[in-house]
């Protein structure tokens, strides 16, 4: 049972309901959270425990970021916060207030995909497509980080993104192409 003992006066912003004299249950209640996603300010009513991933998918209907494991293993939820790649499933949405969140939906626009999105299609760098948005968010960041210089570097710095269909050789080919075109 998720009881915590509170030995002093509660100063937490989280609403606490007393079940009995010795045990206290923390009950998160909703709060307005201002999220800036893909250049647009969005006000969302979120419980503090809501992950950035669930906020994006369930509250903003930005379902491009995928939930694969919900425990930071698979990388399908990779987004950028202030331009750095993060795992949205391990990031609390409330912690993103005041920061710029970018998802796969904000990377290219219809009719004008990002070169990485185009390269993924051209090289058939996916099958089911469920890991693909996370792969692309990592792949673009990889080049900007300067971590795509060799095949070994690509393998190492893409290792947080699992492709269960095993399209890895084609993902690598897509990254190489975009890297070389940018050089």
């Amino acid at each position: 049972m998720p009881y915590i003992n509170v030995g002093k006066e509660n100063t937490s912003p989280i609403d606490i309901h007393y079940h009995d004299a010795t045990k206290v249950e923390r009950r998160p209640t909703g709060a307005h959270v201002a999220l800036r996603v893909n250049g647009t300010e969005r006000l969302v009513d979120l419980e503090p425990r809501t992950s950035l991933l669930d906020a994006l998918r369930e509250h903003l209907e930005l379902t491009g970021s995928k939930k694969g494991c919900d425990q930071g293993t698979c990388g399908a939820c990779t987004v950028w916060v202030d331009g750095r790649r993060v795992l949205a499933c391990l990031t609390l949405a409330v912690a993103c207030e005041g920061h710029e969140v970018t998802t796969i939906e904000g990377v290219g626009v219809d009719g004008e995909p990002h070169p990485m999105q185009r390269a993924f299609v051209e090289h058939d760098a996916f099958q089911c497509g469920y890991c693909t948005p996370g792969q692309i968010m990592s792949a673009i960041a990889l080049i900007e980080e300067g971590n795509a210089s060799t095949d070994e570097a690509i393998a190492e710095f893409m290792s947080g993104n699992i492709c269960r269909c095993a399209a890895y050789p084609n993902i690598r080919a897509a990254i190489r192409e975009v890297r070389d075109a940018a050089a």
Binding site: Q71, T103, E105, V121, C128, R164
Partner: protein, 641 residues
């Protein structure tokens, strides 16, 4: 014909996937939708003592907590049959939440319904269940003494034993005998999208958005479990985040979502968590193989005995068939195959990518490698000399690519540079080995008739429709290529529609049969449509083709023409609009060849690998692999690779 078949076309849904617009099952939003969370058993055998719901019911946003004591019983459990049969296809003959007995860890014991995902998950954690635990068996070692030989396997479709000749006598008189025992751990599929279903009722009509390999399989199975008319249930599945066999059968969570939606009178979404994916859709069974082969001193195989021992559930005699390759790929007179089972506290095992035969072929080919060493024959040559022109029933192969695959692979890999002496090659601390394996996979033809619909509109655009989901195979792209080819249309003029049980019948795309059966049905549909439109033209007095012999009419560049005089003709749209036809359409039907078709049916291939092993640390690294396959006609090389 445009020749669009065989072209390396990029996936037509590629930008939907890379731009993040493709909507998977858990991304369908319905008004007033509630969220489900499953509470699973934390023991693998025993009885539920109590389920204390009080804290969970007290939590914010909780709508209901359903368990065996307050959920209606299902009216009927369908028989377990592989989904390719085209009948209801429950993954196991057991449906949870019917009573208080626990058969396997993770078995659903309660469903929490709440108004948000977070609240459902939180409340599921507050549900406090207690159990009376009884001893359980979950591994081969725990149950070895209890192994039995079932009468039949695989939903009764195949015998558990298979024999020809006299294996014992042949092994006793063989010059060389190789005997190997191999143990494989259970495997879980872990498709990247966890099992997910969204369910909504409209009065007595149910719509399910389900991550499945077969919308028809989901429709048939859920309808049976709920006692619902097939006409009252529609299953939609456009994009599926992988399967690897986990969605080849229809597992209980799908029907639980429908049941819960009916109970609470709201649309619901059930997305299982990653840990739950290990106890929700079956698994490849833990298994042990013993393979014994006998051969002459010159390397001719005389006998193979192949036994598989594996763990199944308490409900079903299920093992992935393991002797389809070992009994057929080499020409030999004496064979005995047997599957033995141990009843365990697991889900019923199920298909996992490369079902059965991939694991079993590793066993066979490892023993072949030992034999090559023993008789001093090159491993590629040993396979070539033992592969026959016919299958064991004396039927010639429908196509036999094995020799070519082995030779081409050897060339690509640089097999001739290999040093065959064991432990002869080193790279620093690493020992380097080179190996080859023949590959084979049986072709399953027990699907029912397959349907697809082709329609061409008065403006000359066409659409091809079939009730199959896209789970990574690129099926929509392939359908478009096949239809465009038959109608002589550019790919841009053809669109596709799939993933809906309201569309023409396609059986679950399992057993590596998807491309074959879908493309065959699409081919029939587009050909029927072309003949229909041609017939309309020759019978239309105003058509330049009026009165022409049907056999002299052709389609080319989106036009109907005379084969020999191609400037005589007209476009589809001229013909259809003049005849006041909004569209013309045809449903194509494809029936598989009969099961007793007089051909040997194996798809062949060959694998070559360079493997490094560190003898001190036990590390193993695959450094290089070449695979060569003879899959028949490749519809799209880019997707095939």
């Amino acid at each position: 014909m445009t020749g669009s078949i065989g072209k390396s076309v990029s996936r037509l849904d590629g930008y939907e996937k890379t731009m993040g617009h493709a909507r998977y099952t858990g991304e369908i939003f319905l008004p007033n939708m509630a969220y489900l969370a499953i509470v699973g058993a934390t023991i693998s055998s025993g009885m539920i003592k109590t389920i204390d719901r009080s804290a969970a019911l007290d939590a914010d946003g909780v709508i209901a907590i359903l368990a065996h004591d307050n959920l209606p019983q299902i009216p009927g459990q369908p028989q377990l049959l592989p989904s390719l049969v085209g009948a209801p296809a429950p993954g196991q003959s057991f449906f949870p939440l019917q009573d208080d007995e626990i058969h396997y860890y993770g078995q659903p014991i309660a469903i929490v319904v709440a108004d948000s995902y977070e609240r459902a998950q939180y409340a599921a954690w507050l549900v406090d269940a207690s159990f009376d635990q009884t001893p359980s068996i979950t591994t081969i070692e725990q149950g070895r003494e209890l192994a039995y030989v079932p009468e039949r396997l695989f939903g009764g479709l195949m015998p558990a034993q298979d024999a020809r000749g006299d294996v014992e006598a042949a092994l006793a008189s063989a010059d060389v005998v190789v005997d190997g025992t191999f143990h494989m751990a259970a495997n879980h599929h872990n498709a990247l999208e966890a099992p997910t279903t969204t369910a909504v009722w409209d009065e007595d009509r149910l719509t399910l958005y389900d991550a499945t390999m077969g919308v028809r399989a989901t429709q048939l199975t859920v309808a049976h479990l709920l006692g619902l008319s097939l006409s009252k249930i529609r299953v939609v599945s456009n994009f599926v985040g992988g399967s690897f066999g986990s969605r080849a059968m229809i597992w209980p969570h799908v029907t639980l979502a429908a049941l819960a939606a009916r109970e609470v009178g709201r649309p619901v979404r059930l997305a299982l968590t990653r840990p739950q994916a290990f106890s929700a859709t079956g698994q490849r069974e833990e298994q042990e193989h013993r393979l014994t082969l006998g051969a002459t001193r010159t390397g001719r195989l005389t006998a193979i005995r192949h036994e598989k021992l594996s763990v199944t559930s308490h409900f079903d005699d299920w093992a992935e068939p393991a002797t389809g390759v070992s009994s057929q790929i080499y020409d030999l007179e004496n064979f005995a195959g047997a599957h033995r089972l141990i009843r365990g506290n697991t889900m019923t095992p199920t298909f996992t990518r490369g079902p059965g035969e991939s694991v079993a072929a590793f066993v066979l080919e490892s023993c072949m490698d030992e034999l090559a060493h023993e008789v001093g024959i090159d491993p590629v040559e040993l396979r070539l000399m033992n592969h026959g022109l016919k299958n064991p029933r004396g039927n010639p192969w429908s196509s036999d690519g094995l020799p070519e695959c082995l030779r081409r692979g050897a060339e690509l890999f640089g097999w001739d540079k290999r040093n065959p002496a064991p432990r002869s090659q080193r790279d620093g601390d690493w020992l380097i080995g080179h190996g080859v394996a023949a590959a084979g996979y049986p072709v399953a033809l027990f699907m029912p008739e397959q349907h697809a619909r082709a329609r061409i509109y008065g403006d000359g655009s066409a659409v091809i429709e079939a009730g199959t989901p896209e789970f990574g195979t690129g099926v929509g792209t392939m359908m478009t290529q096949v239809a465009a080819d038959a109608l002589a249309l550019p790919l841009e003029a053809v669109s596709y529609k799939l993933g809906d049980s309201d569309l023409p019948n396609i059986t679950a795309a399992v057993g590596s049969a998807g491309s074959m059966m879908v493309s065959a049905a699409v081919h029939e549909a587009a050909n029927d449509l072309r003949r229909q439109v041609m017939a309309l033209a020759v019978s239309d007095e105003q058509s330049p083709l009026h009165g022409a012999d049907l056999s002299s009419v052709d389609v080319k560049d989106g036009r109907l023409t005379l084969r020999d005089t191609q400037d005589v003709g007209e476009s589809y749209s001229d013909l259809l609009s003049r005849n006041r036809r909004t569209y013309a359409e045809a449903v194509g039907r494809w029936r598989p060849p009969p099961l007793d078709t007089p051909r040997g049916l194996l798809t062949f291939g060959a694998q070559f690998a360079e493997v490094a092993a560190d003898p001190d640390l036990g590390l193993v690294r695959v450094r290089r692999m070449v695979g060569v396959f003879a899959p028949g006609r490749v519809l799209n090389p880019k997707l095939a690779r």
